[in-house]
């Protein structure tokens, strides 16, 4: 006798101790999103001053074709595509974690001030020590984590009710934004310019040196999320219900917060504050997959797809002028944000 879940479900039991249940629709959506992201990636690899057809790109990736083609595709353009995919996935995951924890579609790391805090960290580091890649990354990481800790402590009152966290986050974010402004008008022109550039959120100029640390960290955090299993969905049912099912609520929530902040910080450290991907990806993914609550994997796939397409647009829309991808996500995401606010206000 099998259970009717009200949707197409695939049950796998290859072995006595191994079993799983897979909803067909989310799996297909994830697959489609990844294919779209990869296809855009192939287009991006071929586009630019040195133009290649998709088949030439695939050839170069497989190690065939001319040396020039391989140089352009693998050495110059591939790191950026990989980073767009991985950073997009990281942002999607971070957004999913925070939205599930706060139980609110506005509860995303860019709205609650972690991006702004990371920017503050970068400005402080730029002023005090200069702007090497690892310095900037460390500054972003420290700034993001410190802001997260402050917001968490200010919002903390017997657990973290979602709405408090969001309100406190928005307030802290607004304060930090003015601090950032103050820094930019105070420091010398060159440092200010470098910081401004970083602050727009861009994948320009990233290479293989950045790929390894980002992929390794995001991969490790992703594995941690998998290790925590379905606990995030259980937390969505309320503290008591989750605790009754054997989730250690406080400890688990703290772990998710740390993972979410770390994902945001890694993405921000590499590419600067890229807004709206974390905000929009989980919600769009949920609408497409119709999963109960926020789901991690579809959010990651959607994030990767959104950032890949946004970055392609940023590079190609006004070519040869290259826009920072942050500008594209802000303009597209701004529309989404307005829609979301209107919809929330109507409830």
């Amino acid at each position: 006798m099998s259970v009717d879940f009200g949707r197409r479900v695939l049950v796998v039991r290859p072995h006595r101790g191994v079993s799983g249940r897979l909803s067909v629709r989310p799996a297909l959506v994830c697959l489609a999103l990844l294919l779209a992201a990869l296809a855009t990636g192939v287009l991006a690899l071929g586009a630019g001053e040195f133009t290649l057809t998709p088949s030439e790109v695939l050839g170069a990736l497989a190690g065939e074709g001319t040396r020039a083609a391989r140089l352009v595709v693998v050495e110059w353009r591939l790191p950026r595509v990989l980073l767009a995919l991985v950073i997009g996935a990281a942002l999607g995951l971070a957004g999913a974690v925070f939205q599930a924890l706060t139980g609110n579609p506005l509860g995303s790391p860019d709205v609650i001030g972690f991006g702004t805090g990371a920017y503050t960290g970068v400005l402080v580091v730029t002023v005090l020590a200069g702007n090497g890649y690892y310095l900037v990354a460390a500054g972003a990481l420290a700034g993001g984590l410190a802001t997260a800790a402050v917001v968490y402590l200010l919002a903390h009152r017997r657990g973290v009710p979602g709405f408090r966290l969001i309100i406190v986050g928005i307030a802290v974010s607004a304060m930090l934004a003015s601090v950032n402004q103050w820094f930019i008008v105070t420091v010398d022109l060159q440092a200010a310019f470098a910081a401004m550039l970083w602050g727009q959120g861009s994948l320009n100029g990233l290479g293989w040196a950045q790929v390894t640390p980002v992929v390794v960290t995001v991969g490790a955090l992703g594995l941690l999320l998998i290790g925590y299993g379905p606990r995030l969905s259980l937390l969505e049912m309320g503290e008591d219900a989750a605790a009754a099912l054997g989730v250690r609520v406080n400890r688990t929530r703290l772990a998710y917060l740390v993972i979410g902040v770390a994902l945001t910080a890694v993405a921000t450290a590499a590419a600067g504050p890229i807004s709206f991907v974390a905000l929009a990806a989980p919600q769009l993914a949920q609408r497409l997959t119709r999963t109960p609550g926020i789901a991690l994997l579809p959010s990651a796939a959607m994030g990767a797809c959104l950032l890949m397409i946004s970055d392609f647009l940023a590079q190609r829309a006004f070519a040869p002028t290259q826009l920072p991808v942050g500008v594209v996500t802000v303009s597209v995401g701004g529309l989404y944000f307005v829609w979301l606010l209107v919809r929330q206000a109507r409830r």
């Binding site: 259970v3 309320g238 503290e239 009754a244 099912l245 054997g246 109960p292």
Partner: protein, 264 residues
């Protein structure tokens, strides 16, 4: 499978609700906690279900402090229907019930044949099998409550705690739910502990009554022995007569009327 509180002091922040409470939940029986609003009955239930850690004393599950045992191990022994639960947007009844299997699952064992059998049995017992594929948001209050109860049953615990399970249900669904508790208790020997508001339902369905007032347990035992007019006057401040329930021969509380004309 025993559950007991030993000399516990419980409260929120710095506000103490109960001090030095002792309670042994009778095994294999149905126990109801009754008492006026804010007497600490839900707080006691939260402490017994380890949602609230006592500031002194301990809650013992099978003779061991409930807070020192692994959370999922406890969740395989003790199930709880909390007062406030949120069904995620877009979840179907069967998916919600299946979440009750969490304490039995492992990372690589997410949906075993036992899980499936437990979900099927829980949904059959609560009569929600035909609602299986429906979205929980679209169900009526009574149906939704039965789905939540099914989730707790799917957990397959020998002890089940219910925090005001009949609130928001109409009278027919209230009785149906309580009869379901009795059936589970008789068929599977499940130990049940529920916070109830309705004295007559408590007297009718519970084997053991725990009466609370201002954070303390003032009486407990067989409803027939415990539930007297004096007790109701003392605990609830309500004048009443106790008559025999013609249906079950349990005490039936009839509030005295200050307005209506009394004959005889």
């Amino acid at each position: 499978m025993s559950l007991a509180a030993r000399d516990i002091t419980i409260g929120y922040d710095r506000k103490t609700i109960s001090e030095h409470l002792d309670l042994v939940v009778p095994e294999g029986r149905i126990t109801a906690i009754i008492g006026p609003n804010a007497c600490g009955k839900s707080t006691l239930l939260r402490a017994l279900s380890r949602l609230l850690k006592p500031s002194a004393g301990e809650v013992l599950l099978d003779g061991r402090d409930i807070h020192t045992r692994p959370a999922r191990e406890v969740a395989r022994r003790l199930g709880l229907l909390p007062q406030s639960s949120v069904a995620p947007d877009g979840i179907t009844a069967a998916e919600l019930v299946a979440r009750g299997r969490f304490p039995h699952q492992r990372l690589i064992r997410q949906w075993s044949a036992e899980d499936e059998a437990a979900v099927v049995a829980a949904m059959a017992a609560t009569g929600v099998t035909e609602l299986s594929g429906e979205l929980v948001d679209t169900l009526s209050g009574g149906q939704r409550q039965r789905v939540w109860v099914a989730m707790v049953l799917a957990q397959q615990t020998p002890i089940v705690l219910l925090d005001e399970p009949t609130t928001f249900l109409d009278i027919a669904h209230q009785i149906e739910l309580l009869e379901l508790c009795v059936r589970l208790n008789r068929e599977q020997g499940t130990t049940m502990l529920a916070v109830l508001h309705d004295l007559n339902q408590a007297a009718r369905y519970a084997d053991h009554l725990v009466v609370m007032k201002a954070g303390a347990i003032v009486a407990q035992g067989d409803p027939r022995a415990v539930l007297t007019a004096e007790l109701v006057a003392d605990v609830f401040g309500l004048g009443c007569r106790i008559i025999d329930d013609p249906e079950t021969h349990t005490p039936l509380v009839i509030p005295r009327s200050g307005v209506a004309r009394r004959i005889g």
